[in-house]
């Protein structure tokens, strides 16, 4: 701990902490562009100047560590004057095309200009024109005019993604960001440079012109792209459409970053890829009706004590809570013992970080939690092979599939679908239209997609993280827990024939 004084107020902060961060934690904003807590210090933009006691010259806060007795001021006229003029210099060659810039609304230049700007520009020179809308590969568009040369993106590719793809070329007011020989960027972490670019110089192709950011709302979630479990924000517009995912800081998991494959997973939650209505053999029906059909078939099997003819295939991406309710109902209540899945222990055993950064080989977000849950409920898991085998021998007459969301188990899906005959009644609980289409003969019931779920996931390192949920794209989709509760309720209702029998007695 160290005692520091900012603007005459004393604060206790961790010794050695960066002054910009320490001030922000205590509610004092020090404007900055080039400093980013996840990157090295460049001292390039000079926006973060403060006045230090006993030092006649202004100092940059981003290069100052908190130590006992540090006394700085951010509110003197000298500092304010410096920041104002600094910003004016940053804007000398900036095109100010906010109306067509995707960053507008979350742009460092806009925000600081409103707070510290000069408002009356004194520049008379013509602006230096540079290239606009430069293609940097599959994911990113660069606008060289908008760049303020803070160097964050360059440092990111050097220090974090280690591709050294970006660099600053030319000198003086002709300096531009670019790639070597204008080659496209190819790595899996490009869009992080868009996140850290304080202005609209780097923008994401996927989000380009899609929506203005001030229309977006955000909810917190956990990425379902792999077993890393990066913390994310889901940016959506009034719960109707998800536009993008952004990383959320977590020092234990992903720090400030996430990968591009994970970023694309939001598309699976949007309406056009969703199973929106319960269906059986191509005929759509209300979910309640589908659950009635399901319960009736289950009931006859349970009533005839043929529970060993019921099989359940689970995807290792269900949340811990979903698994709990599945095992509680099917294993504990109804004594069903045939559970199938992919070979999860092998997947977990082979799991590793593919490029040494975030993205992992295991593409399921909850494999560890899955194994844990099977242990807790003493479930014996069988492989898909054995399921296919048993289907061939018509040992299973009722198959329930809690489907993978992102079409991840494609080979498994087609194998199971091919083995299904009309002797087996199959139910598919999934959020995904493509998965439902690969099981044309199954009774499809729409469930929540990964980003809408609330519950917990256990990542590769055994860390259990909470997803808050709070997003629901449309009414028909229910959470797995709700579907199972409805199933149980339906199941407890006497059958029509029973009811008639009761009436006669």
């Amino acid at each position: 701990m160290a005692k520091i004084t900012i603007n005459g107020k004393e604060f206790d902060v961790d010794a050695g902490k960066n002054l910009v961060d320490a001030a922000e934690e205590n509610g004092i904003e020090i404007p900055h562009y080039c400093y980013h807590p996840g990157l090295s210090i460049a001292g390039q933009c000079r926006m973060c100047v403060v006045e230090q006691e006993g030092n006649p010259k202004l100092q940059i806060a981003c290069n100052m560590r908190c130590s006992e007795g540090l006394k700085v001021r951010t509110d003197t006229e000298k500092v304010q004057e410096a920041v104002k003029w600094n910003l004016e210099f940053h804007l000398i060659n900036h095109p100010i095309d906010c109306p067509i810039c995707d960053q507008a609304g979350e742009c460092g230049l806009q925000d600081y200009y409103m707070k510290y700007g000069k408002y009356q520009s004194e520049m008379r020179e013509e602006k230096v024109l540079k290239e606009k809308a430069v293609d940097l590969g599959e994911k990113i568009v660069l606008d060289k005019e908008r760049c303020i040369l803070c160097g964050r993106c360059v440092r990111f590719t050097q220090e974090i993604s280690k591709t050294a793809a970006l660099g600053i070329y030319n000198r003086g007011d002709r300096s531009v960001i670019g790639t070597v020989n204008d080659e496209p960027m190819t790595d899996n972490y490009q869009v992080n440079t868009v996140d850290i670019c304080p202005v609209g110089a780097l923008t994401s192709k996927d989000f380009r012109f899609e929506q203005r950011v001030w229309f977006l709302d955000e909810v917190e979630s956990i990425c379902g792209g792999c077993s890393k479990g990066c913390n994310i924000f889901v940016h959506h517009k009034s719960g109707k459409h998800i536009y993008r995912l952004k990383p959320r800081y977590n020092s234990q998991v992903n720090e400030h970053w996430m990968c591009d494959i994970g970023r694309d997973t939001y598309k699976n939650s949007n309406y056009d890829r969703r199973l929106t209505q319960a269906r059986l053999g191509g005929i759509e029906m209300p979910t309640a009706e589908a659950i009635q059909i399901w319960a009736a078939d289950l009931k006859t099997l349970v009533a005839m004590e043929q529970t060993d003819e019921i099989g359940i295939w689970l995807s290792p991406e269900l949340t811990n809570e979903e698994l709990e309710s599945v095992f509680k109902l099917f294993a504990k209540e109804w004594g069903i013992s045939k559970f199938f899945s992919e070979n999860v222990s092998a997947i977990v055993a082979q799991d590793e970080a593919i490029d040494g950064l975030l993205y992992r080989k295991d593409h399921y977000p909850n494999s560890a939690g899955f194994l844990q849950a099977t242990k807790t409920y003493k479930i014996k898991l069988d492989s898909t092979d054995s399921l296919v085998d048993q289907l061939d021998k018509t040992k299973i007459r009722h198959l329930i599939i809690f489907g993978p969301e992102a079409d991840r188990a494609k080979t498994d899906n087609s194998r199971i679908a091919n083995a299904l005959t009309h002797q087996t009644f199959s139910v598919l609980v999934t959020a995904q239209l493509s998965v439902a289409e690969s099981f044309p003969q199954a009774l499809g019931i729409p469930s929540l997609s990964h980003l809408e779920k609330s519950g917990s996931l256990t990542n590769h390192a055994g860390l259990t993280q909470e997803m808050k949920g709070g997003l629901k794209m449309f009414r028909e989709a229910l959470s797995t827990q709700d579907i199972l509760a409805k199933l149980e309720e339906e199941y407890r209702k006497p059958l029509d024939s029973d009811r008639k029998l009761e009436a006669r007695l």
């Binding site: 109306p99 067509i100 507008a104 606009k132 012109f209 203005r212 001030w214």
Partner: protein
Amino acid sequence: MKLLDSLTRRFYFVTALKGLVMTGRHFIFNLVGITKRHTIQYPEQRRKYSNRFMGIHVLTKKPNNEIACTACMLCATNCPAECIHIVAAESPNPKVEKYPAVYEIDLMRCVFCGFCEEACPVDAIRMGRDYEYAELSERNFVVGIEYLMSRPALKGRNVSIYHETDKVVKSDFQVSDFKKAS
């Protein structure tokens, strides 16, 4: 009391006659033009509205007939009725980055407040002067770029002030000049 009641009822035609006289008087006075008439011979005759009247919107265009709007969605942000729907896209013209692939205004929801006009940074939307619009179906009140920018009533005069000259436009430009013309 009873007697009075029955009398007035019997002589009701006195009041009726009074009413008739009133109607007749207005009729004759109007006919010979003694009092000012409140109706006009629409559609041969038209009312003269103030220059500041705000009717159906106009999307302006550049001199090359391209739409002036940059799809910044500030009008949609400012619109209290949330009746502007814009889908932005990459412009086919390589010199232009962003343009509205879809720009729709739901005239049924619009309250003609003019906030969209005020919000626009490039004079791409103006409140026009047309006030006559009737349609058979509600759907037809959702008007798109075609109608807002090129309807015949505009006579092609809706060129954005930002593109008429290369110079920066002075702030005392009279948008009403345009309105008079249309």
